[in-house]
């Protein structure tokens, strides 16, 4: 069964096949000293390295897997991916791999459906590849990075118009349980293009319900059949600690597809909150000193080693664009997971209950959403000359419109100035005309920008201070429907 380096194909659950690549002679160790949460401490080991991968052989041929978290003299502490449930100090043998976990990479992954450790769920043979790489990856020398600057068009107005995604960016979706973040993420996966080309998609599911997984598989069926999609699925009832590996395997596959095979790759990782909880569980079992809300102090660096694997490389064709999806516990954006994510990613798309309640899909709270790379990926020479200014004006006007709405609730709409009333009208227009959209509706960028202009036309001209006279003349719809 489990062998990430791919070995004897198609052998059911019973036998542990001999791996294709083996560096150290495999000595097996049986001196188990301690079992605690997901941790296992084994004694009498020599020559075992930190972060090494290990196989745990249990009675009746079952085998599990682990990573070395600490070595202290002849003791090694392992985190067991499939949990230590049912283990006892006797009857377990550990085989160490001689190196950190590696995975075979290559285009073979496209069109495949696997579990969170990369084992096939689609009835096919184990995935083999053209190269073997460590799943933790290596930091990309920043000097080799090419600053991202080509727009990705998703066909979704709020994103393309107001928070443009850029090839090689990391842009997360912050949501709360119950909102259609997966719908949005899969819509992006299904529709995104850059320079007219579609993306290869690697989808890492962590702790998703079976219903959600079924939805994703169904929605992206076409991409999968076309050999453009890799699915790595760790369901809500799959082993928790395994989630620590899932995004790493996904990103290792993606980096290879991008920088070696020259593809534009989109990696969607959902739900990062489940991932972070797995990290917290290991940390708690190790009795580490927590920083905030029980999460370890290294969560920032841990998340960064995932998110930073996006980008573009000078002189190479491909790119890795990452869209992590996370649910904010209690809708709290200051919770460590969204907070640390926001500190690493290049902006955020925030979904809100309030917007959803107004009947808008996608329910993006545009004022708290931002694509930081939009400034280099949109505007003259990239999308359209008016794009950045229009986006700025739409947002500024919306902020003002919200204030006007609040005031209207207090003093009544009749007591508002004429200007404030025009803002309230603008809000309705922009929400209905621009923000709200069908779940599989693809809009061109020109269409999106025209819709923005149409809404702005509801405001008196002197309110449009962020748009130059030249742009106003060129794009502002005439035939005054202002009254």
């Amino acid at each position: 069964m489990m062998d990430l380096r791919g070995a004897s194909p198609g052998q059911g659950e019973a036998a542990a096949p001999a791996p294709a690549v083996r560096f150290a002679p495999q000595v097996s160790h049986g001196d188990i000293r301690e079992l605690r949460g997901p941790l296992l401490v084994v004694g009498g080991v020599h020559g075992v390295g930190w972060d090494e991968f290990a196989t745990v052989d249990m009675a009746r041929g079952e085998c599990r897997h682990g990573l070395v978290l600490e070595v202290d003299h002849d003791l090694a502490t392992l985190q067991v991916l499939e949990s230590t449930d049912g283990m006892s100090l006797e009857g377990i043998r550990i085989r160490f791999d001689g190196r950190p976990l590696h995975v075979q990479v290559g285009t073979e992954w496209l069109g495949r459906v696997c579990n969170g450790r990369g084992e096939p769920l689609d009835g096919g043979p184990p995935v083999t590849g053209t190269a073997t790489l460590p799943v933790s990856g290596w930091p990309l020398n920043p000097v080799y990075r090419d600053p991202p600057q080509e727009p990705v068009l998703t066909g979704i107005s709020v994103i393309d118009g107001l928070a443009t995604l850029v090839r090689g960016q990391k842009l997360p979706i912050f949501s709360v349980p119950g909102l259609p973040h997966l719908t949005l993420a899969t819509q992006i996966a299904a529709q995104a293009t850059a320079g007219g080309q579609t993306f290869r998609v690697v989808f890492a599911a962590m702790g998703l319900t079976h219903a959600d997984i079924a939805y994703v598989r169904d929605r992206l069926e076409e991409r999968s059949a076309g050999g453009e999609l890799t699915l790595l699925l760790n369901a809500a009832d799959d082993p928790v600690i395994e989630r620590i590996l899932t995004p790493r395997i996904a990103l290792t596959i993606a980096e290879h597809l991008a920088y070696t095979e020259g593809h534009d790759v989109l990696v969607i990782m959902s739900d990062m909150t489940s991932y972070a909880e797995a990290v917290r569980e290991v940390s708690a079992a190790r009795r580490e000193i927590p920083a905030r809300r029980g999460y370890p102090g290294y969560l920032y660096s841990d998340l960064a080693t995932l998110y930073e694997r996006c980008g573009r490389v000078k002189g190479r064709d491909g790119s890795v664009t990452i869209v992590p999806v996370l649910t904010m516990p209690g809708g709290d954006i200051t919770h460590p997971v969204p907070d640390l994510t926001g500190y690493i990613t290049e902006g955020q798309i925030v979904l809100s209950q309030d917007v959803a309640a107004r009947g808008i899909y996608p329910p993006v709270d545009v004022l708290s959403s931002l694509s930081r790379l939009m400034r280099s990926g949109a505007g003259k020479g990239r999308t359209r000359e008016d794009h950045l200014d229009v986006a700025a004006q739409v947002l500024a006007a919306l902020a003002r419109a919200r204030q006007a709405t609040e005031l209207a609730e207090l003093v009544g709409e009749a007591a508002l100035s004429e200007t404030d009333r025009s803002y309230i009208k603008y809000r309705t227009l922009v929400e209905e005309g621009l923000f709200d959209q069908g779940r599989d509706e693809v809009r061109s960028l020109a269409d999106t920008l025209d819709r923005a202009w149409a809404a702005l036309a509801a405001l008196p001209k002197q309110e449009l201070t962020m748009l130059s006279t030249a742009l106003l003349e060129k794009y502002l719809p005439k035939g005054d429907d202002g009254e």
Binding site: S136, P139, P142
Partner: protein, 570 residues
């Protein structure tokens, strides 16, 4: 041997001293000695320790962590341990560890132009000669600290490498490049106490919360509030001679962006490229965590090196929180007793050891020069009461607090006028007065008062509606908006607005204050507040983007015209 992430414990290495470098394992990973107990030592490893095993060898080096200081730093990118990234491979694997000295750097040849005279007596800080580099910053080769006496030999104009001697002083040979331990402040003669402003080109700073040369400033702000943008703007536009930009545990794309941005921009003062006055230290968030901890000190050592040549240097550290997290991570693994939020108890003294290396000094060579330190802070959850934020505030002269609400409403730079401070404002006002701007301080005070007053009125208006306020107060409300949107806001993406000269900043502020005064006079004459509120303020609000970056005259001309039109209101 025990290995837990970056923490390595070794046994049986004799004669180690604290801070000494040790290489461990077959890949000769660099580690620093942080604790010694008997024949056991605790090491802080600067690379990924994956695969490190009990039984691997450890070898002491006898050296402390040092950066090689010499010509060829400007325009280049280094990692936190001062290893050039430009000559490193695409993937930063631990294979490249081993020696800190980069062969490419060591092999490079420079032209040495002697300027001192052989046979004379020299002392530390004296200039021996210069080395031309691509930019306009003259590289000066100095007599090192602790070296006195007769200059018995000085190299002719010649091609030399960093390791080559260029002079002999009282029997001591001086090489072109020298290793400088990063954790020790480089010596100087004395600290100066007078305050001279650093012009940052950012209005909200220069007008409201100025920073003096050689002072320290900190920029706390939640994610996306604009710390990096602000620091990058300062790197681009401040009137320092040399910039050291430390990317500490932040994004790789940002480093690429700084590099590309500075390579394109022209240095208005010298005509060269801005990158030629900049040294970049890049230790991104996915690079080994402990090198992040070192990167801050590496940066400040480079800054001191240029200060000693007589230059005004600005060190920018984005973000000091990532550095503090590296400290915490290591302390926790080491089993140190945690104080607040898991940070070690010595957090504030560590922060002090960084910020206190700022200063405007008389160098050993007798020149006036400075190191200004500007550090970003990334408080978890935007919580401004967390330890790194509160501790940093104690050691800085200027605090530029970024406000999430301002940032969300796209008011950039989102510097909060209620939460920020500038402790040297008074002295800097005196400097402005002595340098032809007698009204600088008064103007600043009026602006601060207007902001406070309009904030108070805005709160009131939210409850009762602005139309219920007296006319005079409605004008103040309007004045506050003009000041915020027309002066304090500054668009980093607009060529006219990204940088602002002292003159243009003053003209913009004057324009707003004059408009407020004029409106008050109109009210006195019986013009209604509603009439005034309907005036198109576009010309005032757009002046910052439509007038050139140093075009104070255009702003003033616009003001004259606008005020004349106002006068015609009835």
């Amino acid at each position: 041997m025990r290995v837990s992430g970056p923490l390595v414990e070794v046994e049986g290495v004799e004669g180690l001293s604290m801070l000494e470098l040790i290489t461990v394992g077959p890949q000769r990973i660099i580690a620093e000695t942080v604790a010694i107990v008997g024949n056991k030592a605790t090491l802080q490893a600067y690379e990924y320790t994956g695969g490190l095993k009990a039984g691997d060898v450890a070898a002491a080096t006898g050296d402390e962590l040092s950066g090689l200081m010499g010509p060829g730093l400007l325009g280049q990118v280094f990692d936190g341990l001062m290893r050039p990234l430009s000559s490193a491979p695409m993937w930063l694997t631990p294979e490249r560890s081993g020696s800190l000295a980069d062969p490419v750097v060591l092999a490079r040849e420079w032209t040495f132009n002697p300027t001192a005279v052989a046979g004379t007596n020299v002392s530390p800080g004296d200039i021996l000669g210069t080395v031309p580099e691509s930019g306009s910053v003259e590289h000066r080769v100095l007599v090192p600290a602790g070296v006195f006496g007769e200059l018995s030999w000085l190299a002719q104009e010649s091609r030399v490498r960093g390791v080559d001697p260029i002079a002999v002083v009282a029997g001591t040979s001086v090489t072109l490049a020298e290793p400088s331990p990063i954790r020790r402040a480089r010596p100087f003669r004395s600290r100066n106490t007078d305050a001279v402003p650093l012009h940052t080109g950012q209005r909200v700073l220069d007008l409201m919360f100025p920073v003096a040369r050689g002072a320290a400033a900190t920029v706390p702000g939640g994610f996306g509030t604009g710390k990096t943008m602000m620091l990058q703007q300062i790197a681009k536009w401040s009137d320092a001679d040399v910039i050291v930009y430390v990317g500490c545990g932040e994004r790789g794309n940002e480093m690429a962006d700084v590099l590309a941005g500075l390579s394109q921009l022209e240095d208005a003062r010298t005509g060269g490229k801005l990158i030629d006055r900049t040294v970049i230290i890049a230790n991104t968030s996915n690079m080994p965590m402990m090198a992040r901890e070192a990167s801050i000190f590496t940066g400040i050592t480079v800054a001191e090196y240029y200060r000693d040549m007589g230059y005004d240097v600005v060190v920018i550290a984005d973000s000091t929180s990532r550095w503090a997290e590296a400290l915490r991570e290591f302390a926790n693994r080491n089993g140190d007793l945690p104080a607040e939020e898991g940070y070690p108890a010595n957090l504030s003294s560590e922060l002090a050891s960084f910020y206190e290396r700022a200063g405007r000094v008389t160098t050993l060579g007798g020149q006036t020069a400075s190191v200004t330190v500007i550090g970003a802070v990334s408080p978890p959850g935007g919580d401004m009461t967390e330890p790194v934020t509160t501790d940093s505030q104690r050691f800085v002269r200027s605090l530029w607090m970024l406000d999430r609400d301002l940032a969300y409403s796209r008011h950039y730079p989102a510097v909060s006028w209620t939460g920020s401070f500038a402790r040297d404002a008074e002295e800097l006002g005196a400097w402005h007065a002595a340098n032809g701007r007698p009204d600088w301080a008064a103007r600043r005070e009026r602006a601060i008062a207007l902001l406070a007053e309009s904030d108070r009125l805005a709160e009131l208006a939210e409850i009762i509606g602005s139309s219920s306020l007296p006319a005079q107060e409605r004008v103040l409300l309007l004045g506050g908006r003009l000041l915020r949107d027309g002066v304090l806001m500054q668009n980093a993406l607009n060529a006219n607005d990204a940088f602002c000269s002292t003159g243009k900043a003053a003209a913009l502020l004057d324009l707003v204050l004059d408009v407020v005064d004029a409106c008050q006079r109109l009210i006195e004459r019986g013009v209604s507040a509603t009439t005034i509120e309907q005036v198109d303020l576009g010309p005032v609000l757009r002046a910052r983007e439509e007038c050139g970056p140093a075009d104070a005259a255009a702003v003033r001309a616009r003001g004259v015209e606008f005020l004349m039109e106002l006068e015609t209101l009835k």
